[in-house]
Symmetry: C2
Subunit: 326 residues, 2 copies
C-alpha cells in the first residue's frame, strides 16, 4: 500500500472529522450556489493530502485536542479556494476528472465562491484561538497569491531563470504544504526545533511534489509513459525541464523555443520535438535529480523527531512523491 493510503488509514477518524467539518462549513444560509459549487470540487475525490499533513504533524507531536481538525479543514478550504481561482485564471475545463466549476457554472461563481471559502477558512483558524497559527496561515496566503501573480507575469517569458521558477513553485505549492505541517506542530505546542523541522519538511515536500508534476507533464524521466502530457507546453509555462534546456540551447533550438513558447506559434510535432530536446540535453534527468534532492531534504528534516509510525510514513511519503517521476 502507498504511504499516503497508510496515513489515511491510520488517521481515518480524524480524517472523517475533517470531512464532516468541511461539509458543515461550506454551507451558506442564504446562497445555495455556494455549497453547490464547493461540493462539486470538495467532494470530487480530492486526495486530502494537505489536511492529512496537518493531522499527521499534530498527532506525531502528541496533540490530543480538537483543533487539528479545524486546521486541516482550513488548509483544504484555502486549497479549494485557490483551485477555483486557478481554473478561472488558466481557463481550465477539467479538474480531478470532472468538468471545472467555471465551465459548469461560470467564472463569476468560481471567483466569489473561492472568496467565500477563503473567508470560511479564516473563520476556522480564528476558532483555534492561536495567533501564531493565524500568523503562519496569513503569511502563507500572501505567499500563495504572490507566487500565482509571479507565474502569470513570467508565463511565456523564455528568459525565466531557475530562481524565478523556484519562487513561483514555493508560492503556488510549497507555501501551503509548509504551513500545513508547521501549524500541526504549533497547535501541539511542539518544541521550536520540531516546528522548524515540520516547516522544512512541508516546504521541501511541496517543492519536490511540484517539480515532479512539472516533469511528468513531459512524460517523466523514466520509461513510464505519462498520460495527459504536454499541458504545460501548450500553455507555454516555463517549467524546470524547459528552463534548463533553454539555457543549453544552440541557435536553432533557441528559435524553436522562441516560436513555440514565447510567440505561442505551435504546430503538430512540436511537443515531440520539445521532448527530444529535453532528452538530448538530459534536462529530464537533471529535473528528476532536483526532485530527489528536495525529497531527501524533506525526509531528513524529520530526523529531529523521535521514531514513530507517523514519522516513518511521512518519510516514505517524501520518497513516494519523488518516485512517481522515476
Amino acid at each position: 500500500m502507498k504511504p499516503f493510503e497508510n496515513l489515511s488509514e491510520l488517521l481515518a477518524d480524524d480524517l472523517n472529522a475533517v470531512n464532516t467539518l468541511i461539509t458543515e462549513r461550506m454551507t451558506s444560509k442564504h446562497a445555495p450556489r455556494i455549497p453547490e459549487v464547493s461540493a462539486h470540487l470538495v467532494q470530487a475525490g480530492g486526495k486530502r493530502l494537505r489536511p492529512l499533513l496537518t493531522l499527521a504533524s499534530a498527532r506525531m507531536c502528541g496533540y490530543d485536542g480538537p483543533f487539528h481538525v479545524h486546521l486541516a479543514a482550513t488548509v483544504e478550504f484555502i486549497h479549494t479556494a485557490t483551485l477555483l481561482h486557478d481554473d478561472v485564471v488558466d481557463e481550465s475545463d477539467m479538474r480531478r476528472g470532472r468538468r471545472t466549476a467555471n465551465l459548469l457554472w461560470d467564472n463569476k461563481s468560481s471567483i466569489l465562491v473561492g472568496d467565500y471559502l477563503f473567508a470560511r477558512s479564516f473563520q476556522l483558524m480564528v476558532e483555534t484561538g492561536s495567533l501564531r497559527v493565524l500568523d503562519i496561515l496569513a503569511n502563507a496566503s500572501a505567499t500563495i497569491a504572490e507566487g500565482e501573480v509571479l507565474q502569470l507575469t513570467t508565463a511565456q517569458d523564455t528568459n525565466t531563470t531557475e530562481d524565478v521558477y523556484f519562487q513561483v513553485i514555493r508560492g503556488k505549492t510549497a507555501a501551503l504544504f509548509a504551513a500545513a505541517t508547521e501549524v500541526g506542530g504549533v497547535i501541539a505546542s511542539a518544541p521550536e526545533n520540531v516546528v522548524a523541522a515540520l516547516n522544512t519538511y512541508g516546504d521541501a515536500l511541496g517543492v519536490s511534489f511540484q517539480i515532479v508534476d512539472d516533469l511528468l507533464d513531459y512524460g517523466g524521466a523514466g520509461e513510464a509513459l505519462g498520460k495527459n502530457i504536454g499541458d504545460d507546453f501548450r500553455e507555454r509555462k516555463l517549467t524546470l525541464p524547459v528552463i534548463k534546456a533553454i539555457a543549453k540551447a544552440n541557435e536553432d533550438e533557441r528559435a524553436f523555443w522562441d516560436r513555440t513558447i514565447a510567440k505561442g506559434n505551435q504546430q503538430d510535432g512540436d511537443l515531440e520535438h520539445a521532448i527530444e530536446l529535453l532528452q538530448a540535453h538530459g534536462t529530464l534527468e537533471e529535473t528528476r535529480d532536483a526532485a530527489i534532492s528536495w525529497g531527501n531534504k524533506a525526509r531528513s528534516a524529520l530526523d529531529v523527531l523521535p521514531q514513530s509510525r507517523i514519522r516513518d510514513l511521512l518519510g516514505e511519503l517524501a520518497d513516494f512523491v519523488v518516485n512517481r517521476a522515476v
Copy 2:
C-alpha cells in the same frame, strides 16, 4: 464643508499614517504586477470612507495605541480586493473615473491581486494581536462573499423580495461598514454597549448608503438630475425601487419588467419608461424614506456615546449620506 471632509481634516495625521501603511504593504518582493494593479485602484482617489470610520470610532472611544491604523488599512485592503473581484464579475470598464484594472491588465491579474490584498489585510489584522478583531473581520469577509454570491444568483430574477435585497446589501456593503466601526471600538477596549452601538451605526450607515446608491441610479427622488443613471437597469439588477414597483405592477407593467429585466431585451426609451413607472407608483420616494429611516437609526445609535466632535460628525455623516438622494 461636508462632514466627511471635516472628519478627514480632524483625523488627517491618522489618515496619512494609513496611506503610508497601505503603500508599504501593497508592495511585493517578487511580483511587480501587484503594486502596479493595487496602486491603480488604491491611489485613484478613493474616498477612504471605510478606514475613516475605523479611525473615527477608535479615537472617539479614546484609543491612543498604534493599531487603529492597521485596522483602517485592513478595511481598505478588503474593500479594494472586493472591488477588483467585483469589476471582473460585473465586467465593468470604469471605476472612480478611470478604466478598470481588468481592462488595463486582465481578469487574471485582478483576481490574483485581489487575493493578494485580501491575504495582506489578514496579515495586518494578525499584527494587532486581537482575536476578537480577527473574529469580527473573518465573519464580515464571509458575509461579504455570501452577499456577492446571492446578488449573482438573484440577478435578473423579478421575484426577488425586499428581504433578499436587504440580505444582499447587508453583505456586499453594510458588513464591512459595521466591521469597520466595530473594530475601532474593540481595539479601544470600549464598553460592550458602545461596541454594539458602533456595529449598529456602521450597519445602518452601510444599508442607507447602498439604498441611496441604488436610488441615485434611477436619478434619485428629488429634482437633481443624476449622472450615469441606468447602470443597474442595464445590468438587470433588482434594487429596491424596482422591487417595490414590480410588487405594484399591473399586467402590462409586469410584462415590461419581465422583458427588460428578466429577459434582458431592452430598447431605446425603456429606461425612461422604467423611471416613469417608479414615479407613478411612488417607489422612488418610498426608497428615499427607507434610506432616511436607516440613516436615523445610524444617528441615534450614537446616543450611548458621550458628546464629542467626532460623534457629532459621524451623526452628520449619516444625514449627509441620505441627503445625497433628496
